[in-house]
């Protein structure tokens, strides 16, 4: 039993943090509000660091590591507001490596490892959110494959992705599964959406009789567990990123409180401010506990993985909400200014809070599991 990272894992975190401190900033993020929202230099830098190859198995040119090796990286991505589709592609990589056919893996994973191929999940619908049970996109039987009809929203960076990982109900049995769909396919329409976080990009994607081959289904035949996995991995990655954002917001608040003078004293010397920061620290540290544990549980398919992920998504979401709001408050009027960076953290955290299931949905999942366990005991 060991609830800590290895020296190598901490070293990798340090190198990611050092790279991002040097090569990335909110000032550069602001530039992404215009154009396609993609920073090729950053993408190549992250690729060179090896971020995108961590989950790719060695036989496909990657490192063959696990989410435990990525937990601290996700945290850093949150902390530095790394834009998509980096984390999204890592989530897709995990699913492809686990459930993809040999052909799918050979076609996509080596390209992902070198940064050439981007794959993003398309699992959110307007009515059911990202709950697999609520998927309404249909894949109907067709000669040699399937025909997709439906609508996804908030598909991250769909405009520059090479493949979308689309959740759908397949055939007469309505079996859940994932389809790999090229966003340039006939019948597929992308509509860029205006976002709460203007430094990000996402599209509404409409599938109007989009024909795909049977070889485009992840695992060749629909696998319900692959849809669950996308959502769970996404929730865990969101929890870890929110933890990083909250940690950064706490640092910013503490730094600001030390230099902002009112009544002849730094405001950080007032207990009204100190005590808020202490409460923020408690939630940041417990967020780390929750997010790291979820990463471990998913990486080794622990029996309690679903609860671990839901605990993390619920706790880290509430914590990020609290910490971001308090950090803004501590900054006073300047915290409300567009030119200060705080709102970019706030917007990213808020977006993550509602992605891959909100805190209420995840609490419900934890309680159901706890009641079932109590029943079984």
């Amino acid at each position: 039993m060991n609830f800590d990272f290895s020296a190598e894992q901490y070293m990798f975190q340090d190198s990611v943090r050092a790279y991002l401190a040097d090569a990335w900033s909110v000032a550069r993020l602001r530039r992404l509000m215009e154009g396609d929202g993609f920073d090729a230099t950053l993408w190549h830098g992250l690729t060179d660091l090896g971020l995108l190859s961590i989950l790719v198995p060695e036989e496909h040119g990657g490192m063959g590591l696990s989410f435990v090796d990525l937990a601290l990286v996700f945290e850093e991505c949150g902390r530095a507001l790394v834009p998509g589709p980096a984390v999204e592609t890592m989530i897709a990589t995990d699913v492809l490596a686990r459930f993809g056919t040999q052909e799918q893996k050979a076609a996509l994973l080596p390209g992902i490892a070198t940064g050439r191929i981007k794959v993003v999940p398309a699992v959110v619908e307007a009515d059911g959110g990202s709950d697999p049970a609520e998927v309404e996109t249909i894949a109907s039987d067709a000669a040699g494959g399937w025909v997709l009809n439906g609508r996804k929203i908030l598909v991250p960076y769909a405009g520059l992705a090479d493949k979308l990982l689309v959740s759908a109900r397949f055939g007469a049995t309505a079996a859940l599964g994932l389809a790999l769909v090229d966003p340039t396919r006939a019948g597929l329409t992308l509509r860029p959406q205006a976002l709460f976080d203007p430094s990000s990009r996402a599209c509404e994607v409409i599938f109007d009789n989009v024909a795909i081959g049977s070889e485009d289904v992840v695992g060749a035949a629909p696998i319900a567990a692959s849809v669950d996995r996308v959502v769970d991995a996404g929730a865990m990655a969101a929890a870890a990123q929110m933890t990083g954002i909250a940690a950064r917001m706490l640092d910013l608040a503490v730094d600001y409180a030390a230099q902002r003078v009112q009544f002849g004293r730094p405001i950080g010397s007032f207990q009204a401010i100190k005590h808020r920061c202490a409460d923020m620290m408690v939630q940041v540290e417990t967020s780390r506990t929750a997010a790291y544990y979820a990463a471990w549980a998913l990486s080794c398919d622990a029996p309690e993985a679903v609860q671990a992920v839901s605990m993390a998504k619920a706790y880290c979401g509430d914590a990020a909400r609290f910490v971001c709001n308090e950090a803004l408050q501590i900054h006073g009027g300047v915290g409300f200014a567009w030119d200060l960076d705080l709102h970019f953290y706030l917007r990213r955290a808020k977006t993550l809070e509602y992605s891959f299931g909100d805190a209420s949905a995840h609490r419900e999942r934890v309680l159901s599991a706890a009641l079932a366990a109590r029943e079984a005991a």
């Binding site: 039993m1 920061c277 790291y292 619920a314």
Partner: protein, 396 residues
């Protein structure tokens, strides 16, 4: 990172589980419960603690030379989990085990360790803690109880308060002022006092829970041999900080988590049987969310402890992850008991003695007890000052 247990750990777990199940009374937690009477309850807890000792399960992580097993922290965590699973009682000599022992291991002389540790382990000697005074609460360094040197003794005069278990204790460790001229932190010493010494009066204080766990303790010309001084003269404040670090650290928290988890399990049961009109309380969506929050927070308390333990296992100093533990669990436990009373609904107004009280009134008692969590071993306000100034480095 690895939460799997080694085959040795699994064997240890089986051994612990078998021993606990054979040692608790038949029907424990279902038909057999702790005594209603407070003194009987504490005596039964002392009996259980002694049973643990005779079974070889007391202070398992202590070094072998002092009677422990030199067990790993993981084994300590496993034992805590198994005690929780069985709903085993708490102990009475908690202060001796959790505070006196580590303080003496760090700061005591070899003679003090040999004299006191074995009887702490066996709970032959129960300990209490003489820190707070009527005018030294959060401002602990303002203690006024004096100890004046007289030959090979100190003569102690003054009053301590909130002295938990003083009426059951054979020994007390206390902070005394040995230099009234020095700055307040620099004139304090740490003394071990035999509670049977003439001049000590213990007066139980009734708490809001109706229990009398704590006391006022008066010292009138109490003679304490000089060899009972821990550390150097006037160096007591530093030692008190070691003691407090243990009082607020992961080992203490893990022990408490056992109780919260056990009561949370009972809460789930009660929520299924208590009605809200035609439906069960557990089917009320608003209540479900609150209970779910407690399920999450109690589990994260355990994981917070394990994270600190893992740092300790690697010999890393306990960083911020230990200083936040007490602030985390005290508030989360208060929320849990609030939710428990909400689950009882109108039955929350029943007293423990009423036959219609769910879970024998444990949630009403727990709620009242929980109000102390954010006050003792340093109020939440003091914890927040410590975190802000020493962990976050905020200006004084």
């Amino acid at each position: 990172m690895d939460f799997n247990f080694s085959p040795e750990d699994d064997a240890f777990r089986h051994e612990a589980r078998a021993w606990i199940s054979a040692s608790l009374p038949e029907g424990w937690g279902r038909t057999v419960h702790e005594p209603e009477d407070e003194t009987e309850r504490y005596m039964s807890r002392l009996g259980w603690e002694k049973k643990l000792f005779h079974g070889g399960w007391a202070g398992i992580a202590w070094p072998k030379e002092y009677g422990g097993r030199g067990a790993t922290l993981v084994e300590q965590a496993i034992l805590a989990e198994e005690l929780a699973r069985a709903g085993a009682p708490e102990g009475l000599n908690i202060i001796g085990h959790n505070l006196t022992a580590p303080t003496l291991m760090h700061n005591g002389t070899e003679a003090q360790r040999r004299r006191f540790l074995p009887k702490i382990l066996s709970s032959e000697e129960v300990w209490c803690q003489g820190f707070s005074e009527p005018n030294a609460g959060s401002d602990l360094a303002a203690v006024r109880t004096t100890a004046v040197r007289d030959g090979d003794h100190f003569v102690v005069n003054g009053q301590k308060t909130w002295t938990s278990f003083a009426q059951y204790a054979q020994w007390c460790f206390m902070l005394v002022r040995t230099d009234t001229e020095a700055p307040k932190h620099k004139g304090i010493s740490f003394l071990l006092v035999d509670m049977s010494t003439p001049g000590i009066t213990v007066r139980p204080l009734r708490q809001i829970s109706g229990e009398s766990e704590f006391n006022e303790t008066f010292f009138h010309d109490v003679r304490v041999p000089c060899e009972n001084l821990v550390g150097g003269l006037n160096e007591g404040w530093k030692i008190a900080m070691t003691t407090l670090a243990h009082e607020r650290g992961p080992e203490d928290a893990l022990g408490r988590q056992i109780r919260f988890k056990r009561e949370l399990g009972r809460l789930l049961d009660v929520a299924k049987t208590q009605k809200r009109g035609k439906r069960a309380a557990i089917d009320d969506p608003a209540l479900r969310q609150k209970i779910a929050s407690s399920v999450i927070e109690v589990e994260l308390m355990r994981l917070n402890c394990l994270r600190s333990f893992s740092k300790m296992l690697q010999g890393k100093p306990l960083g911020p992850e230990s200083s936040f533990q007490k602030l985390y669990w005290s508030h989360m436990a208060q929320r849990m008991y609030e939710t428990a009373l909400e689950t009882l609904g109108p039955a929350a107004a029943l007293g423990a003695g009423d036959p219609a009280t769910p879970a024998r009134g444990m949630f009403q008692t727990g709620f009242l007890q929980s109000r102390a969590f954010t006050i003792y071993s340093g109020t939440s306000e003091i914890q927040r000052n410590i975190i802000a100034e020493r962990v976050l480095g905020m200006p004084k």
